[in-house]
């Protein structure tokens, strides 16, 4: 009992001290940057909002699980979160053939898995073949490797991966934790065993230690780690001895626990709680998720949404600034394209996405839609309205959609809101039985547009084959050279916004709050946590 008391006191004291310090010199901003040089050792206690049901980064698809998995595995490459460029990690260099169907990686020497075996070409081949073999169990990976046909070991440190179709996106995908490399021994265990941490042998800066479902998960520093990504701030071992992920589903408990010193940091800070962590010794790290922003994707085969002018009017009737200012927080940005500003080859289309109710009214007037007695426009007996289907994956979605509903009512458009479970939403998305779909997708590569909008892929807007959009999407997928992909990627964004196949609204943003004890909690290019450079004082 006495030992127990001590630990409570120890946890409380630093924050008490920090609060005193902040009151003593209230004008001084006590941010993590002032804490002096990073020091090794200690445990970072970090709250996440949901249980990472499975721990194998190759299999998982939830943010909670990806935020853990990222620390356990290394990838062939890393992606610069500032520029989107692909940089060396386990691979020192690589070549791509002209058609982006063949990628040759030259591995660095000296890297080992936590079971002591080397990270060599045969191991990389085993790992990629293993991900392919997972099939649908590797939700993200199997998408990245859709056209993967196999690997060839050219020498112990050189491996070539082949694809049956141009796969420019693969280079970015090779930097994700979903394609992180596991040891050959891992594949002697079943996928279910790896999910539970059994045989989850990576070469990453941390190793799995223990997992209490729905309560906490601990990972520990990998001793002797010396093959970090070229993008990291320091080389050698991670600073932290351990990371203790607390699984805390209640947002209010996450906030209160951080404020009272029971946590060092928390993910998923709710917009209403953000102000409490601005100053007072706390810091916030934020980063918009790259990929497709939260948007209303129109099914152009349904009702009034078949009319392009109607879709364009809806786009003009949405006041994005008001959405981020009233329902979200200043950390969230209004969408300025269908892609978030953190996505490579994003192009700024803010002029086309400005709030313009007069323009919306003019479009609808010209199209023959007349305001009815209840304010909703009609044409030939048809009411101007549509339904939006969504799941509550993001807490504020309901409030955002209710605000958009009010905004669109002002231009005479009746938006009905339909909340479904995640399972039902996926079923509806697959069947195509929706007018508008409300969603976002995280991916730090513009190819996500092909995945979602190409008539040959997801085709969420139900477009006919052979539109100029398909041509643009195919063009950006054909080559791994960023400059060569640019015209296609930009044109695709332009076409989607111009034809209002989707109405972009805001950029989903990760908000992490840290106490004065935690430093360097940061994000990689896909806005997942990268904790190699994190430390505690």
């Amino acid at each position: 009992m006495i030992a127990v008391h001590h630990s409570t006191i120890r946890k409380v004291l630093p924050v008490g001290a920090a609060v005193l310090l902040a009151t003593a010199c209230s004008s001084a901003a006590t941010t993590g940057a002032d804490a002096g040089p990073p020091r090794s050792g200690g445990t970072l206690t970090l709250a996440v909002g949901s249980n990472p049901d499975c721990l194998d980064p190759q299999q998982v698809g939830t943010n909670a699980a990806l935020n853990v998995g990222r620390q356990l595995v290394d990838s062939l490459t890393d992606q610069d979160s500032a520029t989107g460029e692909i940089k060396p990690w386990l691979a020192e260099s690589w070549e791509t053939n002209a058609t982006s169907t063949s990628f040759t990686f030259h591995l660095r020497s000296g890297a080992t898995f936590s079971d002591g075996t080397p990270v060599d070409a045969p191991a990389v081949k085993t790992s990629f073949d293993g991900i392919k073999a997972l099939g649908a169990k590797s939700l993200l990976g199997s998408g990245y490797l859709a056209a993967y046909t196999g690997s060839t070991v050219l020498d112990p440190r050189t491996v070539r991966l082949d694809f049956s179709a141009p796969s420019a996106q693969f280079l970015q995908a090779s930097s994700t934790m979903s394609l992180g490399v596991l040891a050959p021994a891992a594949y002697r265990k079943t996928p279910d065993q790896r999910c539970q941490g059994d045989g989850l042998i990576g070469s990453g800066p941390f190793v799995f230690e223990s997992f209490k479902q729905n309560s906490e998960l601990v990972i520990a520093k990998r001793k002797g780690y010396a093959w970090g990504s070229s993008l990291w701030k320091h080389q050698g071992e991670a600073y932290l001895d351990k990371i203790d992920y607390k699984i805390v589903p209640e947002p209010g408990v996450r906030t209160g626990s951080l404020l009272s010193g029971q946590l060092d940091a928390t993910t998923e800070v709710q917009p209403v709680d953000e102000a409490q962590f601005q100053g007072n010794g706390f810091t916030e790290s934020t980063r918009p998720n790259p990929g497709v922003v939260f948007n209303l994707t129109a099914n152009v085969t349904r009702g009034v949404l078949a009319d392009e002018k109607v879709r364009q009017a809806v786009g003009k009737g949405v006041n994005r600034q008001e959405v981020t200012e009233t329902v979200l927080s200043p950390n969230y940005k209004p969408a300025t394209s269908i892609l978030a500003s953190t996505t490579p080859l994003y192009t700024n289309l803010s002029a086309q996405l400005a709030y313009d109710p007069a323009g919306a009214a003019a479009l609808l007037d010209g199209d023959g839609w007349v305001p009815g007695p209840d304010g909703i426009r009609t044409k030939g007996g048809q009411r101007l309205g549509a339904k939006v289907v969504f799941a509550a994956a993001f807490n504020q979605s309901q409030s955002v959609l209710e605000l958009i509903q009010q905004q669109l009512r002002k231009v005479g458009f009746d938006l009905a809101i339909e909340l479904h479970t995640t399972a039902e939403t996926l079923q509806i998305q697959q069947s195509g039985a929706y007018d508008f779909l409300w969603y976002n997708v995280t991916r730090a590569d513009p190819d996500i547009l092909r995945n979602q909008f190409s008539a040959k892929a997801g085709n969420r807007s139900h477009l006919p084959a052979g539109t100029p959009l398909d041509t643009a999407l195919d063009q950006q997928a054909a080559t791994a050279d960023s400059a060569a992909r640019k015209p296609g990627a930009e044109q695709a964004q332009q076409l989607i916004v111009d034809h209002a196949y989707a109405i972009p609204v805001f950029e989903l943003t990760q908000v992490v709050a840290s106490s004065s004890r935690a430093h360097g909690v940061s994000f990689e290019a896909s806005s997942r946590l990268q904790l190699f450079d994190a430390w505690v004082s």
Binding site: M1, T62, G135, L140, Q213, N214, E250, A423
Partner: protein, 316 residues
């Protein structure tokens, strides 16, 4: 007596089978399935293809017609195998059994506190001669039953963890992490026990036999605690059997609020993910507990009340 026990055990087996079957039917009839729920909840929901969904359903045996799925599951369950969780890859039985001890610790302590609190309030409330104290104590249970568990938990955390910083708000570490969740569970449960016990105590105290006992010169305390309580305890004891089930249900809320490992959280997430193997393992386990506790309560009656003992003897 022996026949009675055998009959009760047979009844219990039927209850277990019914719980197993009903949970399968309900989850099977819900729109969507475990694969949709698993894939729909993550980042991959937007990029998954129809082929991937089909492949995953095939892998988890969800494409089989329902009688085949049900039959396979029942047969395996008879051998103690509830299958593998679709969400976590862990064996459903292991997942449920490993989540059991932390839940039992909280609910056990919660039940003890509930009996203490409910019993104490009812006894004092009916014993005291101060009218104001009497009224105050006896109004506590109705207040207790009106408070939502969720709210009580958050208020306790706010006061004792965030303000006073004497108890942890989250986790499973040590005895001190049990205190707030157990109190949260005990308040509404204790209130129900208190209500029932107070009512039956008052009924008993108005019975003619009390006057006889008093006329024989027994002290007030002896009348109250010795005679009235013994007879009044029967309905409250029956209730303990019922509230044990309520405590398990309440643990869904307390474990979420206090971020604890346990059956409640396992159940909540398995139901929302339509993870049939885990839900069935939980339900069969819960039914087992429910049946066992009620069986025990049933067998305790004769010890407390000679009338039921004689009736059983006459029948058995």
């Amino acid at each position: 007596m022996r026949n009675h026990v055998i009959r009760r055990i047979l009844q219990a087996l039927v209850v277990l089978w019914a719980a197993f079957t009903l949970s399968f039917v309900i989850l099977y009839l819900l729109p969507g399935d475990a694969v949709l729920a698993k894939l729909g909840g993550g980042e991959g929901a937007q990029t998954v293809t129809r082929e991937q969904l089909q492949q995953a359903r095939e892998a988890y045996g969800l494409n089989d017609p329902w009688p085949v799925q049900y039959g396979k599951r029942l047969l395996a369950a008879l051998h103690g195998d509830f299958g593998t969780s679709i969400a976590t890859g862990d064996s459903a039985a292991h997942q449920v059994l490993s989540a059991l001890p932390p839940t039992l610790a909280v609910t056990g302590l919660g039940l003890a506190l509930a009996v203490l609190f409910g019993g104490g309030v009812a006894l004092l409330g009916t014993y005291t001669r101060f009218r104001w104290l009497n009224n105050l104590l006896l109004s506590l249970p109705s207040l207790g039953t009106a408070l939502p568990v969720f709210w009580v938990g958050l208020v306790l955390i706010q006061i004792f963890s965030f303000r006073l910083r004497v108890l942890p708000a989250l986790g499973n570490h040590g005895v001190q992490s049990l205190v707030l969740p157990a109190i949260t569970l005990a308040l509404p449960t204790g209130a129900v026990i208190g209500q029932v016990l107070a009512k039956s105590l008052r009924t008993q105290l108005a019975e003619p036999y009390i006057e006889i006992v008093m006329a024989k010169g027994a002290s007030r305390a002896r009348v109250h605690f010795g005679h009235a309580l013994r007879n009044a305890a029967m309905p409250a004891l029956t209730l303990v059997g019922v509230v044990s089930g309520q405590l398990l249900a309440g643990s869904v809320v307390t474990e979420t609020v206090f971020s604890r490992e346990g059956i409640g959280r396992v159940t909540a997430s398995a139901v929302s993910l339509q993870d049939i193997p885990v839900v069935q393992a939980v339900i069969v386990l819960a039914a087992f507990f429910f049946v066992t506790i009620n069986l025990l309560v049933d067998l305790l009656y004769p010890l407390l009340d000679p009338r039921t003992r004689n009736r059983e003897a006459a029948r058995g």
